[in-house]
């Protein structure tokens, strides 16, 4: 299967072509030391536009896409 390059939180990541956000996230979490977080612990922006949770499984990614995965943090 063809693979494409995207960025997740500014770092290059390789996924299968036609992968959805859901599939890319599962692959990303599986490649990290941490266990998979549930979606209520983060929110997603694709190319600087908000993507609701309900659309993770139906939004296909393209080469060069920029995914931001943000989580709660302290703030002033």
């Amino acid at each position: 299967m063809t693979q494409i390059h995207i960025r997740i939180n500014g770092k290059h990541f390789v996924i299968n072509d036609q992968s959805t956000i859901q599939e890319a996230l599962e692959s990303w979490f599986n490649n990290s030391a941490a266990s998979l977080l549930t979606p209520d612990h983060y929110a997603i922006a694709l190319n600087q536009h908000f993507i609701p949770r309900t659309q993770y499984a139906c939004t296909a990614l393209q080469a060069g896409d920029d995914l931001e995965l943000l989580a709660p943090m302290s703030g002033g």
Partner: protein
Amino acid sequence: MVANNNDSVNDSVNDSVNDSVNDGLILYDQKFSSRLLVGTALYPSPDIMAQAISASGSGMITLSLRRQDPSNNQGQSIWQHIEQSGCALLPNTAGCHSAQEAITLAHMSQELFNTDFIKLEVIGDDYNLQPDPFETVKAAEILIKKGFKVLPYCTDDLVLCRRLLDVGCQVLMPWGSPIGTGKGLMNPYNLYAIRERFPTTSLIIDAGIGKPSQAMAAMEMGFDGILLNTAIAKAHNPILMARAFAQAVKGGRQGFLAGLMESRQTASPSTPTLGTPFWQQA
């Protein structure tokens, strides 16, 4: 019975006392018993943060969104403490430099924190973290139309404040001075002007407050609330400082409600002069 002068004075005093008891901070359709809002950053530890929030008595706390690093669960630890505080959440858009960035972050916060409140922060200059007035108004207008309850962090510019009200903001948060400086109320004239021009708008001093006395001064001027972070988090004893700010904000508010005396150039004796002893001996 005709009310005499004393009855009138007593009624006025009782009204002020009742105002003080029933007093609350109105943010859009919600009322908060505390007029102090605190941030959750820069504390020595999540545990001290939690104790300081509790000591502040605050009903609303600010927080942010940052990139998730799966190998570091520090954010999750802080999030657990924040959830346990029971406070309403006020997510911010800190770090955004354009309206589009702020709007995206607001939507992400809305989903994650399940709140329509957003502290709108669009920075225009990294030297003093001064908010960008043009992008702030642009973002506020769009977010208000989408149903957000926008609390815009802004400068003490009267016309900017008017523009933010024009696009539907019901709360304004002018700075006292730049974020993290602790310089207090840098421009009291401008702040008085904003207070006087918008007497019914909820006005919160956000940023720059370094001492409890500065928070009290703002409340005595008639501001409706104080939002701060660094002054508590960076104190030697954040928990004690949180308590100090809570008392200062409450005291300043009660002073405002009670009505401050007018200052004078010349001295005026407070002790009655009638019957002064030794009057003829000088």
